[in-house]
């Protein structure tokens, strides 16, 4: 392998790790994209480094996007990291944020191949979508709920969502990110998603970025087998649990 190819591959990796766009059109790294695309050696060198670092790169719409996958001990976040990053204190708040992130993605994608052709979502859309999605569980709560549910259960998640007021204070103008209300939580999650390069905000409208599309389509497409297995195992576990 030539020294030059290795150099290029390292440059690509560095740019991706720093979150700089590596894409064909404009952008300062257009040359890097070209090298990736045209040189087999650069491609191989990059793949090799990625494999060793437990990272993956996807090409989508003439651009490269990096994912750290799951449980990456170097580049991944622990629960504590995420809580710190989002300004949360409790695990159940983090799980609620997870759910909101899933809902935000589900507004655009039903599955990894079906795009809803929606351009953007607003804060209240996500709030409404979450209300609807949890309404089944919340109405179950109307019927009966026993004792304190486990922290990691969906029942606990539905309760903590249901018990939040829509807005913390009527008098203030606009919505502020915070843990005290539904809208505050949604805003907090959107701020986080924007900081992660998954959405861009224009006038309170949130547009999914190429990175978001790329990861949803490619990563989950590739990982569906493993995730499906996980899903089967968890539902089986649920049944087993019910039997005892």
């Amino acid at each position: 392998m030539e020294q030059k190819s290795l150099e290029k591959a390292t440059e690509i990796l560095a740019a991706l790790l720093l979150g700089e766009p590596v894409e064909a059109k404009n952008g300062k790294h257009a040359g890097l994209y070209e090298a990736y695309h045209e040189s087999g050696e650069v491609n191989d060198a990059l793949e090799l480094m990625l494999k060793k670092l437990n990272l993956r790169v996807y090409e989508y719409n003439y651009a490269l996007y990096l994912t750290v996958g799951e449980k990456n001990r170097v580049f991944g976040y622990s629960n504590e990291d995420l809580k710190r990053l989002m300004g949360l204190r409790l695990n159940k708040e983090l799980y609620l944020c997870y759910y909101l992130i899933y809902q935000a993605a589900a507004c655009f994608y039903q599955d990894s191949a079906t795009y809803n052709y929606r351009e953007y979502i607003k804060l209240e859309d996500l709030l409404e979508a979450t209300n609807h999605a949890l309404s089944g569980m919340v109405s179950d709560l109307h019927r009966f709920s026993n004792e304190t549910p486990e922290e990691t259960s969906f029942t606990a998640l539905a309760i903590s969502w249901d018990e939040l007021p829509v807005i913390a204070n009527e008098d203030t103008q606009g919505v502020r990110a915070g843990r005290g209300s539904k809208s505050g939580f949604v805003k907090l999650v959107f701020n986080f998603l924007v900081s992660q390069g998954l959405f861009t905000e224009v006038g309170e409208r949130y547009y999914p970025t190429g990175r978001m599309h790329a990861l949803i389509r490619r990563y989950f497409e590739e990982e569906k087998g493993r995730l499906y297995e996980l899903q089967m195992r968890s539902s089986k576990g649920g049944e087993d649990g019910a039997a005892y």
Binding site: L18, T67, V68, E70, G76, Y77, Y95, Y98, Y99, I101, Y102, A105, A106, Q110, D111, S112, A113, T114, E124, L127, E128, N131, H132, G136, M137, L141, H142, R143, F144, S145, N146, E150, T152, S153, F154, T155, L157, D162, E163, L164, P165, V166, E170, G174, S181, K182, S183, Q196, L198, M212, F220, E223, K224, L227, Y228, L230, Q231, S234, S235, G238
Partner: protein, 521 residues
């Protein structure tokens, strides 16, 4: 026996249903008991929260159901302010009034949380709870809109109106009665209630659709329930509507024929109004019917689409989350979120951890490891062992020699040999140290033990110097002697006992002569 069984069945198995129905009343009594005496030191304890709650509900029903619009916070404050002045003659300065109204409204919406009523579930024999909200809030743009919940409407209607599976039918019968008794104004109220019920059903339809969108299985269940409770009354309702319309037309014709005085004109006006309202209600009802048809079609579509998407080779997010819901494990969501995150590059100490520093319990002092007193291990190498042996053997021979020299002036080697043999038996002649001793001692002609202590010229002198440090050697201090080899090279042959062959050794005879003081001087 049967009677008792039936009674127990009623008590235990239906208890949950009863509590579910009772929960509608729970918020009211909670609020009724919310004494104002905790607020502003009981300044407003004359206000009746129960009355205010019912009034607010009615206001919401008016706005949400009849006018079909959500309520903003400002409108609620206007309404409550009017109520306080009208019913309680309470005119307050603006600031204080706002504070009071905020307090009242916060109580009614329970700070956005549901009212939770706990009770004992006799079937599962555990504590269970039921929940209910009166007012729901939604966000539209940057304003919050309030709507009354379906449960709250039901509660409100429960307090006076009659409940049945189809409220529309009951209201129609009521309407029929009102037309017969010519109470047209009351009839308009009834029609409004019919409209509100129709609106409620349409709302429910929307909920079913939303549920279908998020979870097909739950959605299908809700759809079935909706069909059973809502839609099966349609035919009957339609029949009653046309029946009432007929009645109205007859009443109008009759009134038009007999109209004479002002009173009749008033009545006729009432009839017209009622007729228009009834027509509106029928149109509304018709819309509900088409809505429901639409619901059925869209539900079928959604179910079909869902079946199709399950067969495709894509990753199904919703399927994954429903499985996680079934397993009641939110941590599975991390599998969906983690891959989307950007690489974590900053590794730094978080300031938030300083908070934790305060809450972390002090560490229990660790007991120091106790080290027993261990003797330092002495390593002895082979040559050291050897040296030790040599110096030990030399010491024995040297002591014998010196003792002899102290006793006699001259000691011959053969004499020394005899002495040694007496002391150590002839085994000593089998010892190689004896021979090496002879070799070493012959390296110098004369020895001065005092000088040896200061300076050692040979290996043998080195050993001598070490020996001289021992206290028992003090008696040899100052001893000087010389070695004289016999010039005629007399050979000394010594027989060694116990050895069979060649058991002799031959050395040159040596004389050890003590040097006297004066001689040395």
């Amino acid at each position: 026996m049967d009677g008792t069984y039936q009674m127990l069945h009623d008590i235990i198995d239906f208890h949950n249903d009863r509590m579910r129905n009772l929960r509608r009343y729970y918020p009211f009594f909670c609020l009724q008991n919310t004494a104002f005496h905790l607020f502003k030191e009981g300044k407003y304890s004359f206000l009746d929260m129960g009355y205010i709650t019912l009034a607010v509900l009615r206001f919401f029903i008016e706005e949400n159901q009849f006018n079909d619009r959500a309520v903003q916070y400002r409108e609620i404050t206007d309404f409550l302010s009017g109520l306080l002045i009208r019913d309680f003659s309470l005119e307050l300065p603006e600031e204080e009034e706002k504070e009071l109204i905020d307090y009242i409204f916060d109580k009614i919406k329970n700070d956005g949380k549901p009212f939770v009523m706990e009770y004992f579930d006799p079937v599962k024999k555990t504590k269970a709870s039921v929940r209910m909200k009166l007012i729901e809030a939604t966000l539209s743009g940057s304003t919050v809109l309030y709507t009354v919940t379906a449960d709250a409407i039901e509660f409100y209607l429960d307090t006076k109106e009659i409940r049945d599976e189809s409220k529309i039918n009951i209201q129609q019968i009521l309407l029929e009665k009102m037309i017969h008794t010519k109470n047209f104004k009351g009839g308009i109220d009834v029609i409004r209630r019919i409209n509100s019920e129709v609106n409620r059903l349409r709302l429910q339809k929307r909920e079913v659709l939303a549920l279908l969108g998020s979870n097909v299985f739950d959605g299908v269940k809700a759809l079935e329930e909706f069909n059973q409770t809502g839609m099966r009354w349609f035919a009957e309702e339609q029949k009653l509507f046309s029946h009432n319309m007929e009645l109205m037309e007859r009443a109008r014709a009759k009134a038009e024929e007999t109209v004479t005085g002002e009173k009749d004109t008033e009545a006729l006006k009432g009839i017209y109004q009622l007729e228009t309202e009834l027509k509106k209600a029928m149109a509304n009802h018709g819309e509900l019917l088409s809505d429901c048809m639409d619901l059925q079609v869209r539900a079928d579509e959604m179910i079909h689409k869902y079946k199709y998407s399950r067969l495709r080779g894509a990753f199904d997010f919703r399927g994954f989350v429903s499985a996680a819901k079934e397993a009641q494990d939110v941590t599975l969501l991390a599998h969906l979120v983690e891959p989307l995150l950007a690489p974590k590059l900053q590794k730094q100490f978080s300031l938030l951890q300083t908070d934790e520093l305060l809450s972390v319990p002090p560490e229990t002092p660790e007991a120091a490891e106790v080290l027993g007193e261990e003797k330092e291990e002495m390593y002895r190498f082979d040559d050291e062992i050897e040296e030790e042996r040599i110096s030990g053997n030399y010491a024995a021979i040297v002591k014998t020699l010196f003792d002899e020299l102290l006793a006699a002036e001259t000691v011959s080697l053969s004499g020394l040999n005899r002495k040694l043999e007496l002391k150590f038996f002839d085994g000593i002649f089998k010892n190689s140290d004896y021979y090496s001793f002879l070799v070493h001692i012959c390296q110098k002609k004369d020895y001065d033990l005092d000088a040896v202590k200061k300076k050692q010229d040979t290996f043998f002198e080195g050993i001598l110097a070490t020996l001289m440090k021992e206290p028992e050697m003090h008696r040899y201090e100052g001893l000087k002697f010389r070695l004289v080899m016999k010039p005629e090279a007399e050979e000394l042959v010594h027989q060694i006992a116990g050895l069979e062959r060649d058991a002799t050794f031959v050395t040159t005879e040596i004389l050890f002569e003590r040097i006297k003081e004066e001689e040395a001087g």
